[in-house]
């Protein structure tokens, strides 16, 4: 334990109490001085500078610390003035005076010197910020802060923490704080009572602490920790299983989304559409385009992209159908050839017109992060949305194919075109509409995928093979088949992955498909009966 640390601790205790109780504070050390201290700090003295700022109670302290954490605290080379960078894109940056917050306008990047931070410091900073947050009004912020503190407690904050613990009115927050303290106690002091506090916790840090206790010399501690761990283990297994299932479904939903449009164009219409992937890509680029049009509103842009992506891809689909596919009725191999050509053109088009580089699609706030079920199980939100979206799209399509005339007509047209026309079905219109529908759905897939993966010229290529695989595995012409196939393959893959590794898992899935098709030569949901056998 170093002397400076001890001193800080004292300082901290002294200064924190008033912050917690009353808002009475005076601006003692001037802002400039504090910042100066931070800017000039050696790696060893950074923490001290940070805590000084935190303890200062300066109204802009938080802003400084956050700016510092985000690499936005800079010094003007010539004047030595400390500024906060507001916009750091491009060659000229907008800056504001750190102390006053006054906007100073643009400044060339060349003239700024960043005040360096690294991860070790950032960790300290996080602790400091969490400590500040412990005194926030909102109990949720406090709980979040308390959770952040788990595993980050050191001597410096232990006492204030315990002080805070006594004052904390909300049980949940208190609980967290107790655990945070207990982790410290188990790890540093080998306290057996603390082990009991951690017994039920699923938090990884709590488990880590218990694990370290198991390795300890003290037999009593060891036994207690072992017992505590045992109770957690079972719960963890369940969570683990739930998590894997979720992973599987979510991968499956991606497969379903990618394939479902193809289930229409290929499965129902019989067009081997190699450009399907590029239609997905168009959907994804539409999302990007929308976000460019509506800067700062990624969420709104994303929602608007749903109809827009559908429309763009559907229009592209119509163009493809009119210009190429209509001439290739009943010649699947030629549709493969022509759409392969189309796919090359579309890829290169995007490369030339937009950029060969990937584009950034921002994930809106409400889609990032995870839904925390408990400390060991949290479900990523973006994938949850995608899963829901996939199911919605599927339901919608099902409705169209089953409940509207289009569904009946397209099946009639593909089974016997001449006869369907003899029955008065406008085959050309049906072709256009169906292809547009399939393409549009591919566009929707693109919108969703933009939230999971790269938006770049190769996007389509990555999904085309999988899509065909899913459609065929499910049984050509059967939408249910596509859904079940996608979810099954996804789940199998994720179940295998933990023990086989990603590469082998994929290989096994492929081999599984090959073998499965031997057993059911017409996919999961085959078309049965005399007609299918030919």
């Amino acid at each position: 334990m170093s002397i400076p640390r001890l001193l800080t601790m004292l300082l901290f205790v002294l200064l924190m109490a008033p912050v917690g109780t009353a808002m009475a504070q005076q601006d003692d050390g001037s802002g400039e001085k504090l910042l100066e201290q931070l800017a000039d700090a050696s790696p060893a003295s950074t923490e001290e500078a940070l805590q000084a700022i935190a303890a200062s109670g300066h109204e802009r302290a938080r802003a400084w610390l956050e700016a510092y954490g985000n690499n936005r605290l800079s010094r003007v080379k010539d004047t030595g003035e400390i500024v906060i960078v507001l916009n750091n894109r491009g060659r000229d940056w907008t800056v504001a005076d750190a102390v006053t917050g006054e906007n100073l306008g643009e400044m060339s990047r060349r003239d700024l010197d960043r005040i360096a931070i690294n991860n070790a410091v950032r960790r300290q900073l996080a602790g400091v910020l969490a400590m500040l947050d412990l005194y926030a009004e909102d109990p949720e912020v406090r709980e979040e802060a308390a959770r952040d503190l788990m595993g980050k407690v050191d001597e410096a904050v232990l006492d204030p923490l315990i002080g805070r613990l006594d004052e904390e009115p909300v049980a949940a927050v208190r609980n967290r704080l107790e655990q945070a303290v207990a982790i410290y106690r188990v790890e540093q002091e080998g306290s057996i009572e603390a082990v009991d506090v951690l017994a039920g916790s699923l938090h990884p840090r709590a488990r880590a602490a218990l694990n370290s206790a198991v390795a300890s010399e003290n037999p009593a501690l060891k036994a207690a920790a072992q017992k505590a761990l045992l109770s957690v283990e079972q719960k963890l297994k369940m969570n683990r299983a739930a998590e894997t299932l979720y992973f599987g479904l979510s991968l499956g939903s991606v497969l379903v989304l990618a394939a479902i449009g193809l289930a229409i164009t290929f499965g129902v219409m019989g067009v081997i559409n190699m450009a399907h992937g590029e239609l997905i890509m168009l959907g994804a680029y539409t999302t990007w385009g929308m976000q460019q049009l509506l800067p700062g509103q990624p969420g709104l842009a994303l929602i608007l992209s749903i109809p827009a992506g559908f429309l763009v891809a559907a229009l592209a689909g119509i163009a493809i159908e009119r210009s190429v596919i209509q001439f290739l009725k009943g010649r699947p191999l030629e549709t493969l050839l022509a759409t392969f050509g189309v796919s090359l053109i579309l890829q290169q088009l995007v490369r030339t017109v937009i950029s060969p580089l990937n584009r950034t699609v921002v994930t809106p706030e409400w889609m990032s992060g995870s839904l925390v079920i408990n400390d060991a199980l949290s479900l990523t939100l973006n994938r949850m949305y995608v899963l829901g979206f996939a199911l919605l799209v599927f339901a919608g399509l099902m409705l169209i194919m089953r409940r509207t005339r289009l569904g009946l007509e397209v099946r009639a047209v593909t089974q016997n075109r001449a006869m369907a026309r003899s029955m008065g079905i406008k085959a050309t219109r049906v072709d256009i509409m169906t292809f547009a529908l399939g393409s549009g759905v591919a566009g929707l897939a693109g919108v969703a995928l933009s939230q999971l993966t790269n938006v770049g010229p190769n996007l389509g290529q990555n999904y085309i093979i999988d899509s065909f695989m899913v459609v065929v595995f499910g049984g050509v012409g059967n939408l249910w088949g596509t859904l079940v196939a996608g979810l099954t393959l996804g789940t199998i893959n994720q179940l295998l992955e933990p023990w086989a590794g990603a590469v082998l898992a994929k290989i096994i899935v492929l081999v599984f498909i090959i073998l499965f098709i031997q057993k059911r030569p017409r996919g999961l949901f085959p078309q049965k009966g005399r007609a299918a056998e030919g």
């Binding site: 498909i513 098709i517 031997q518």
Partner: protein
Amino acid sequence: MWLARPLQERSTQLFLGILFLALIAVTALHLALPEGHPLHVSAYTVTLLGKYLCYALLAVAVDLVSGYLGILSLGHGAFFALGGYAMGMYLMRQIGDRGTYGDPVLPDFMVFLNWQELPWYWYGFDMAWFAFAMVLLVPGALALVFGWLAFRSRVTGVYLSIITQALTFALMLAFFRNEMGFGGNNGLTDFREILGFNLRSDATRLGLFIATGIALAIGYVVCRGIVTSKLGRVSVACRDAEARTRFLGYRVERVQLFVFVVSAMLAGVAGALYVPQVGIINPSEFSPIFSIEIVVWVALGGRATLYGAVIGAILVNYAKTVFTGVMPDAWLFALGALFVLVTVFLPQGIAGLLRKRRKTTDDGSGPSDAPTTAEATA
């Protein structure tokens, strides 16, 4: 003999004639004219042509199954690559202790990934006869096992296409794995000599080119022999009405298996000749997209006309060579447009153009060379 039959056919004679003329012409122009002469064919061009011929042989193999047997194989790249790997392993072993690390047995990539000994499946590849046999046997055996499974269970149509694709995809992933012992993503490269000839000498290049030409000729005759035989007609029958063929007493699955295996072996040979000429074999040859591309060559050339496959393969790859050099930024547009235009305006592929011309000249062929009818309606 069924193999002699195609030799009496005008179209085959014409094909072989053109092929051999081309071989002789290239050889002569390469050897006789000095470098710098406008008509001189450089070693670079010779190798390039050799590569096209490999692709042509591969396309012929694919056409045999997809055009005549109705099995749209989207995984023939796998057989090609396996043939290539067999050859690559031979060439690797030929390096001997001249590798970077000087290990007499282990190839370089094994040394630096710390392999202690040669995996068993590398044994024997130091012997040319063994390796060359493997060029035929490995793809053949894979096709046999795979085909036996698939045809026995009557997997047809797109289902078959997709599992061939799954096959090549799985193999690609497997060969990417370094643990497999085939050099992972880098594959096998840095070859030195073949049968004692230095691979970097122009004479060897020319030799390989000629060998490829001959292989193509043989492959073409073999396929043509099958196609013009009664078995060829049975294949077409299987393609169009599999069940009906069974009721006539043909074991459809065996016919399919036979043709599939022959085709796989031809693809293997093509791969084996390809590797020493391009100097590398790596798992991307297994990629499904490559296999799809092969089908595209065939379709572009004209399906179910073996020579169409040859034309398609050479044309597309020539176009690629030219376009990637002349308009590196926009060549995909050109290639894509080529595919689209051919399908829309030449429904029978390029061979359709030629056939139209031929139709007007000769007509009323006898039944013995009748399989052209399959082409007429395909």
